[in-house]
């Protein structure tokens, strides 16, 4: 193969930069975590991953993260649509508010949500069922924390959507539903799935906001990151690292699967 001259210069420089940056910030710390966790003995490992408490909290973490990401996909979609397609008073302000969950320390969010949704809270008192200290409360905290992902990934795509295609379709007699499914959805689907993925990944690892609203009752409302903290408090660094690795592997697998689906869909869309 002959070398193809590159149009943009500086490939080697930027690749080198990318690799070293990625290594320093992401790969080396994760690798260190992985190596450290390998100190665990086989029997301790088996005991750890077959423990009912760990399995239940893993299930809780996955299920609340998935629910929150799914809800955000729908709500975030509507939000992005509203912000892009309509002009109304206070739109810019609303647009800025979307990023607030990123700026706020998550512990503050957790405390605020707990105060409002506890049974004596401003909103919590109107519900017949408990919100704070149940999985619903956990999902709520995760909804808050992951809100910006879907909105911010969808917005630019919606903005770039050519209006004239929709107009042409309307003139040719397409219904609104047809326009949405045939024209809009294929264009925004990849970004939408990326938004979901980001929200899901972030939600699995979230700790700061959740511990305040979760109630932390073992077997019921204990999330997996809390078990890591519990291990650290027993000075069991190795087990804590091992749970971290397990979480990473599960997240990695799930994200990998979602990415494959997304690629398939992107090809299908074009």
């Amino acid at each position: 193969m002959t070398a193809v001259p590159r149009i943009i210069p500086g490939f080697k420089l930027s690749l080198g930069y990318t690799i070293s940056f990625l290594s320093l910030i992401v790969l080396i710390p994760l690798f260190a975590l992985f190596v450290f966790s390998m100190q665990i003995s086989w029997s301790e490992f088996v005991q750890l991953i077959t423990g009912k408490q760990l399995l239940l909290s893993l299930w809780l973490s996955l299920r609340t993260a998935f629910t929150a990401a799914l809800f955000n996909t729908l709500l975030g979609g509507v939000l992005a649509w509203t912000l892009v397609r309509y002009r109304f008073f206070g739109r810019k302000l609303m647009d800025t508010f979307i990023d607030m969950p990123f700026a706020l320390p998550t512990a503050v969010a957790g405390i605020a949500l707990t105060a409002i949704y506890a049974q004596n809270g401003i909103i919590g008192q109107f519900f017949a069922f408990k919100i704070a200290y149940t999985p619903i409360g956990i999902t709520l905290a995760l909804l808050f924390v992951t809100l910006p992902f879907v909105v911010r990934t969808l917005q630019p795509v919606l903005q770039d959507l050519p209006k004239d295609v929709e107009e042409a379709a309307t003139i040719l007699g397409a219904s609104r539903m047809q326009i949405f499914i045939r024209i809009i959805l294929p264009a925004i689907l990849p970004a939408w799935i990326i938004g979901f993925t980001l929200a899901f990944a972030r939600a699995i690892g979230e700790y700061g906001s959740v511990v305040f609203i979760a109630g932390n009752i073992p077997f019921k409302t204990e999330i997996l990151p809390l078990l890591i903290v519990a291990k650290l408090d027993q000075y069991n660094y190795v087990a804590a690292a091992m749970i971290g690795v397990i979480m990473l592997l599960i997240s990695f697998t799930l994200l990998f699967i979602i990415n494959i689906i997304q690629h398939r869909l992107a090809r299908f869309g074009s």
Partner: protein, 349 residues
């Protein structure tokens, strides 16, 4: 360069140069001053000692100035006791540690020996210059009429206590309940049944004592908060005493938050003398009064007796007598697969 510009620049540069020189001189003077005349020590402590050490540090600095003629700067760091211990393990240069339980100080040696293993015999009374105990904080007027531990398992009573897996304070609560049940019902089996019953009445397990206090005080959760006596008083003081009251049970555990010099650090920094004196002076009469003022029970019995309203008498069992020390209690009750885990496994079967 244009002369106008030069004329403009020159005085500015001169002024700047002079200013820099001044700053450098001042810095140098300060450095010499602090090198010759002032030591800095770092006290790594846990959360609810903030107010106590703020006042004690001033008292000690004054005392040190009078007796040695040396200025001393004391910095304190506060946080959850276990987290603070981990910070020291990870390299925080603490001259002294003043933590919530002996287990956390023992744990500091888990990677390498930073503190002489016999640290608890270095100062009087198990190296514990002040103590506390576990009491109940209830809502004003005590509507559920909670007087003692066995009232906690009555139908309809909700108990707020943090998770012993993540909170040192919560371990004291657990052991106090256990000690009561064992004294009253006679056997470990019955104590297990009683303590399990208490945890059936717990709606929320916060990760730390502060979180549990917030749940009880701000969220209005539960009928009774299990708390260190000093923290219960702090909560009362913050609330103006209008909404809560303290109930002292018939029997509780003697909470001994110990102190130790971190040998590896003071030897490196050359601050052993100061660190030693800093902890020793906690036993002085002046310091014991400051301790009482901040709601910890003074070790000096004569001084303790001067505050009968603040610190009512009750039967106090020590962790050494009742549980054979921290290391053994930790292993039996709180390690993975220990009694606490079994209790929750059983509750959720």
């Amino acid at each position: 360069m244009q002369p106008v510009l030069l004329a403009f620049r020159l005085p500015a540069a001169q002024w700047l140069g002079r200013k820099t020189a001044l700053i450098i001189t001042a810095l140098a003077a300060m450095a010499t001053f602090s090198g010759a005349n002032a030591a800095t020590i770092l006290n790594v402590s846990y959360d609810p000692t903030r107010e106590l050490y703020k006042e004690y540090n001033q008292l000690f600095a004054q005392h040190w100035q009078q007796t040695n003629g040396e200025n001393i700067t004391i910095r304190t760091s506060h946080g959850g006791s276990g987290k603070q211990a981990r910070s020291v393990i990870d390299g925080l240069q603490a001259d002294v540690v003043t933590l919530a339980l002996a287990g956390d100080i023992d744990a500091i040696n888990s990677r390498q020996t930073l503190i002489a293993p016999d640290w608890q015999s270095k100062f009087a009374d198990n190296s514990t210059p002040y103590t506390s105990t576990i009491v109940f904080l209830v809502r004003k007027g005590n509507p559920k009429n909670i007087r003692d531990w066995d009232d906690l398992v009555r139908e309809g009573v909700e108990v707020i206590t943090p998770n012993p897996k993540t909170s040192g304070g919560a371990r004291w609560n657990f052991l106090a309940a256990w000690a009561f049940a064992k004294a009253k019902y006679g056997s470990d089996d019955k104590a297990l049944a009683f303590v399990s019953e208490i945890y059936r009445h717990v709606p929320v397990l916060d990760t730390g004592a502060r979180g549990a206090t917030t749940s009880f005080v701000q969220r209005g959760l539960g009928d009774v908060l299990l708390a260190w006596e000093n923290e219960a008083y702090l909560a009362l003081a913050e609330q103006g005493g209008g909404e809560f009251e303290i109930v002292t049970p018939s029997l509780s555990i003697l909470a001994e938050p110990p102190v130790a010099v971190v040998d590896a650090v003071v030897d490196k920094k050359g601050t052993r003398e100061q660190a030693q004196a800093y902890l020793q002076y906690l036993y002085s009469d002046e310091a014991q009064h400051v301790i009482a003022k901040h709601f910890y029970r003074p070790r000096n019995a004569a001084i303790l007796a001067q505050y009968p309203d603040r610190f009512p008498a009750l039967t106090l069992v020590t962790i050494d007598e009742a549980f054979g020390g921290w290391a053994s209690a930790q292993k039996t009750y709180f390690d993975d697969g220990g009694v606490f885990d079994q209790i929750f496994a059983r509750i959720n079967e």
